[in-house]
Amino acid sequence: MTDIFMGFFLATLIISLFTTRLFRLYSWYALNSLFLGMIAMSVSFDINDNEMLVVGVITIIIKFLIIPFVLRDITLKFNLQRSIPLSIENHFLVIVVPLILAFTFYLIEPISSMYLQSNYVTIAVSSLFLSLLLIMEHKTVSSKVLGFLFIENSLFLLAISATKGMPMIIELGIFVDLMMFIVVINLLFKPQEEQ
């Protein structure tokens, strides 16, 4: 089951690289986070770890339900530009994305013997590179912010796949940081007159 969720996680991230509308990007982020939460829950059942199950549920609540809603609200409140043109053409992206995936498989090869599921680590690291690509290819600030949130998801996936989860208190601290990130974004978007 985890394999299927992993596939969907990567697929949603790749599709978001080609997205040129902001709300659609939020939807892909929400789905990406949903699959991340599912992965955490699935792994928690496999290794019988209750802490990871809790983290998976919190991921779904915060990243799938709350954050996309708040971002949508910010977009409407401050009337942000909803067309997000790409600075890299689609036909180049079609070449670059598989190259990144192939490159990551070779990058992880020397340490693949350390992990039972080294493919998961590979997917996490390639997601990180793809999220960085998402930040680079978009010109608008709002989509760059989404790029950071995708990076955060990739790091979370890496923590699940490479370490079988970080200590609970650290995961909760990261969630609190993420919420503060959203608050700060809200303050930054506020026009001067409102401040």
Binding site: P110, I111, M114, L128, L132, I135, V141, K144, V145, F148, I151, E152, L155, L158, A159, A162, T163, M166, P167, I169, I170, G173, I174, V176, D177, M180, F181, V184, I185, L187, L188, Q192, Q195
Partner: protein, 458 residues
């Protein structure tokens, strides 16, 4: 120990009510008492650790917090900020100091990262407290690049945790356990993690190629932000580097030295020429901060712990004072050095001159001694190796670059002191702040203090 978090929490709570800046400064000043207590009373548990090193960093940061909070008394009159902006500033200052105290005292890499992230996010808004399009754009830039840097640090921490978990299990996150068990760590994965963490930290400190990024941010923000960056934020980042490099030193010292030297020298090379072309005080001090950070990391990895810590403390006291005094020097015009010291009165001019000359290591500045000891440590680290001649060359190269910086600072000093300028007003709180930083700097050259710093890593 937990009393150390109290002043920041009180500042956060008070920021929601009508602000009395003198009371706020008084509350911020109380942070010095738990810092002094922790300096003499160490402890260690799963999440927090107080040893010689972080107790020293906390004490230095507390002194900086006191100086910055005193400078805030004249903030509205100096920069024309309204009550709401002041409230926001105190709120984010409280969060910033809370996050960094958490980082400095943490024994856990994850907790260290959380504190650093809190501090990063709180500074984002502080940058645009005084609104301008430039400040607005720079705060966005800081958010995005800072977030990428902090993500790199988290990425590295996860890899380090992954490398050490099979050996240390639940203690794999502890700095203390990592240092204790450095010999047993899986080298390859740990090193990838360490280099990612170090790169993230170097980006946050404005190392190559991000030199102008940090300079532009400090230029666009109010002067207190530059002081907080150079005096407290960089201290917490350096502490993380100090701790993890102790492990990397055991895992592979050659890789550590090569990586840090290449990165540090490249940064010094770029920064010395950027300083030569600096047209305003803020960028000048900001770039000079990057130069000193590169020297500190180079001294540290060369085994010159005393030199690195002395340099670090001296920089943490002098640089915030210079950033804050820029508010006085630039009270008429930003892009101008001419006559800026002449119109502010004899005593303030003397205080600022002493700090300006101390930052370029003119004796008896503590930086003069730290550089001498640092170069000595560099040479000593290569004495028994095949790279002795190369190391001598590196020392000469660094001295050459430092002489460019020295020349520029002296030119600016002469220009600001001997050419005609307009008279400026300096507030009593600003003079008090300058005195505090100057006394703290002078304390560093007293023999008992030097001995205490020398004893931190022994």
């Amino acid at each position: 120990m937990y009393f150390v978090f109290l002043p920041s929490l009180i500042i956060i709570i008070l920021s929601f009510f009508k602000i009395n800046r003198i009371i706020m400064s008084f509350v911020a000043t109380t942070v010095i008492f738990p810092a002094i207590y922790l300096f003499f009373n160490h402890m260690h548990n799963d999440y927090f650790m107080v040893d010689n090193l972080n107790a020293f960093v906390l004490l230095v940061s507390s002194v900086v917090a006191v100086g910055v909070s005193i400078s805030m008394i004249s903030l509205p009159s100096r920069l024309g900020l309204d009550d709401k902006q002041i409230k926001h500033f105190y709120l984010f200052f409280g969060i910033f100091f809370l996050g960094l105290t958490l980082s400095i005292l943490s024994n856990n890499m994850g907790l260290y990262w959380i504190g650093l992230e809190f501090a990063t996010l709180s500074t984002v808004y502080m940058i645009k407290i005084k609104y301008s399009t430039f400040a607005h754009n720079e705060s966005w830039k800081y958010l995005i690049v800072g977030a990428i840097a902090i993500s790199l640090i988290l990425f590295g921490i996860i890899l380090i945790y992954s490398a050490t978990k099979p050996i240390l299990h639940e203690e794999a996150m502890d700095f203390y356990s990592l240092i204790e068990n450095a010999n047993a760590i899986n080298g390859y994965l740990f090193e990838i993690g360490f280099f990612l963490v170090a790169t993230g930290m170097f980006i946050k400190m404005g190392f190559f190629p991000m030199n102008l990024w940090i300079a532009d941010i400090e230029r666009s923000a109010i002067y207190q932000v530059g002081a907080l960056f150079s005096g407290i934020l960089e201290s917490a980042i350096l502490l993380g580097f100090f701790r993890l490099s102790q492990v990397e030193k055991v895992v592979n010292n050659a890789h550590l030295i090569t990586f840090t030297y290449v990165y540090g020298l490249l940064t010094l090379f770029m920064v010395s020429f950027l300083i030569y072309r600096a047209k305003d005080y803020m960028r000048l001090f900001s770039l000079s901060g990057i130069e000193h950070m590169s020297l500190i990391v180079i001294f540290w990895v060369s085994g010159g712990y005393f030199a690195a810590l002395l340099h670090f403390a001296a920089h943490a006291f002098i640089k915030p004072a210079l950033f804050l005094s820029t508010a006085v020097l630039e009270s008429h015009r930003k892009y101008n050095f001419r006559g800026t010291l002449k119109g502010i009165g004899r005593t303030p001019a003397l205080l600022i001159s002493m700090l300006l000359l101390a930052i370029i290591s003119l004796p008896p500045s503590p930086m003069f001694f730290s550089e001498i000891y640092g170069f000595k440590a560099m040479i000593e680290s290569a004495t028994l190796s095949q790279h002795f001649i190369l190391m001598v060359g590196v020392v000469f190269f660094i001295m050459l670059l430092l002489s460019i910086v020295f020349y520029k600072f002296i030119t600016i000093y002469q220009e600001s002191l001997y050419e005609e300028g307009q008279p400026s007003h300096i507030y009593r709180s600003e003079i008090l702040m300058l005195c505090i930083f100057l006394v703290a700097t002078l304390t560093l050259i007293f023999p008992p203090v030097l001995q205490a710093i020398e004893g931190i890593m022994s």
